[in-house]
Symmetry: C2
Subunit: 432 residues, 2 copies
Amino acid sequence: MAVQTVASTTDSAAANSVDLGPAAALSCRECGHRVPLGPVFACEECFGPLEIAYDFSAHDTEELRKRIEAGPANIWRYAPLLPVPADVATKPNLNPGWTKLVQADNLARELGVDAGKLFVKDDSGNPTHSFKDRVVAQAIEAARAFGFTTLSCSSTGNLAGAVGAAAARAGFRSCVFIPHDLEQGKVVMAAVYGGELVGIEGNYDDVNRFCSELIGDPAGEGWGFVNVNLRPYYAEGSKTLAYEICEQLGWRLPDQLVIPIASGSQLTKIDKGLRELIGLGLVEDRPYKIFGAQAEGCSPVSTAYKAGHDVVRPQKPDTIAKSLAIGNPADGPYVLDIARRTGGAVEDVDDGRIVEAIKLLARTEGIFAETAGGVTVGVTRKLLESGALDPSLTTVVLNTGDGLKTLDAVAGTGLTATIRPSLESFREAGLV
Amino acid sequence: MAVQTVASTTDSAAANSVDLGPAAALSCRECGHRVPLGPVFACEECFGPLEIAYDFSAHDTEELRKRIEAGPANIWRYAPLLPVPADVATKPNLNPGWTKLVQADNLARELGVDAGKLFVKDDSGNPTHSFKDRVVAQAIEAARAFGFTTLSCSSTGNLAGAVGAAAARAGFRSCVFIPHDLEQGKVVMAAVYGGELVGIEGNYDDVNRFCSELIGDPAGEGWGFVNVNLRPYYAEGSKTLAYEICEQLGWRLPDQLVIPIASGSQLTKIDKGLRELIGLGLVEDRPYKIFGAQAEGCSPVSTAYKAGHDVVRPQKPDTIAKSLAIGNPADGPYVLDIARRTGGAVEDVDDGRIVEAIKLLARTEGIFAETAGGVTVGVTRKLLESGALDPSLTTVVLNTGDGLKTLDAVAGTGLTATIRPSLESFREAGLV
């Protein structure tokens, strides 16, 4: 690991003069060691992951609630709880978030959930149509604070578009690395924003290895890799899903959440967000259960959960749910811990059930989900069948992306009939 | 034209008991003849188009403003001004609207517009990612009021998905007619919602002719064709674009609007919406100019405008902007009238400039627009160059759809470099 990925209490002192609102320091998730805010992601003591430590002491609960409710219809309504400066909403940014929490009564009926109890948090409404806009928006503000001029990432899809779009609007140069043989459609979705889009001769692992090298090299100076050296800031964006869900439920915790697992970061940050709301008194302190969802073809966390292990053994992904296909999820052990601590579970579904679930959500609620949404809805069905999910409790299922980006998954869907342009032909087809 | 497409004052009396909020009657745009509310679209006297006549007399300006501002973050905040029942927000609906009005300072800089004066109203944030969700949402409420059980339309793209999705959520059967040889991607986007999707052996004109036949036949009983027998209600959805733009500008009229023209309905209804806001006292009565935008390959209105004609001569469309490719636009004469009355203009751009404009918007503001958005941005540039648009005035440009639906238009966009996974190869590519 390159030197500047690790923070030291002394040489990062200068970086601590940055204004990132309530963010007070970086703290190691493993050993608790604190270092000043800076573009670092691994603990100098134990190489554990660093995350943001906040100072929320200034907040009065009711004042905070009012301030949030009067805020903009995007994630910046929660600026007082995020690692961003107070005036963040005035800076050019894609302003994602405040997506719909859809009361899914039709889906509830099909799945046997009580009326009014099932909700879909639909993040396909974000600017580039995935939850990645939330995390990239945080990384952009951190990049501004640290004086970076180029935004970068490795990606095979959603993240490339999110970084390209956000960088364009915010006035950063972007340089995104992808495997050189990515499908043309995905290349277009990322390339249209006009940043550098570099194909690497190799697979996704090769792309990642190259990015790690670049961070440690003078050539990477001034570069913010949103999910590497800006990762502690980036990851906090997922907390906004927790905030929005609770506020949209009328400042109430849901009883059960079904969340997809890729690296596991989103699930752990949603849990963090819920605990923060409890700590701040914005929601009543009641138990909630977190359920993790994976595709069977990439189910390292689900496999460990079922085997009762604390350690996640890497897998070689083979599933249509590409946006969740991380075979060695960094936050896997934390996910296991949260599922067990809250009384939830981790489950997986095969590709056939993923496709079925995409269609089920579309025909019941008019929401066309990415494969990752097929995973959460499919897992929800499976957990209801097994009794792990209680159909009488308030349940929120996440859809983190848009079906338009994974059309291949439902390519078999087509015309129900073909007729000549005549009433006779119409009647013959039995459509009346 | 089939009998039941025309309203008579006597036999539609029963229909007038329907509750569609402030909608008082249907009124002929040509001769002013009024008939009760019903599923009809052409005047019995002169065959002119019927539109909604409202009774807004009960509204107190400041009370109305407060009520709107306290409303939901979707089109139903304007329910008091739409042909929908007062409790519309409690019914299952996709709840489109309240999309972002993006202050486009980067784009302004490139186009030579004064800072803070250029805005993009980005309707790609709607549930199925086009403005069609707005109009279909109105049609759904009218269909409920008239007791229809099947929702239908002819379509070649955006509308098919919007109807399929909205019908699924609202609990209607849907049956959408499309040319049988539509691209597979577009078929999938419409089919995924699980309604009937019928391919007609013929072109789009054949599909339309067949739908007109079906409306006049017993086989079409109980069917609401969103853009035919529900058209007066459906069309009103476009007014919400006018309402949102003004409210998002702080209850202020923009000076200039650039709006795409397909049938011309959207442009005429935005004008209607602006005039309503003036009439209700919600905005100050000041002049505004409306500019219409077409693709050169389908520019019947622009051609008529430039020739000084009142009549629009049909054209055979040949452009990449498929969602605007209506060669015989029903509202063309009204568009000419509005452009001339307000001091605006109608202009067109060729396919090359459409593609350039899509890329320009993406690389400046991170907004990936459908080809229709390329048309409005391209026309904006052209009108600034010619001096027809004043760069010192507040200007709103509409993006009505999503680039993910017209990927082919920018298919030439791709990798900026391909390298081996090494720093040496990276340096050789000159990317530092």
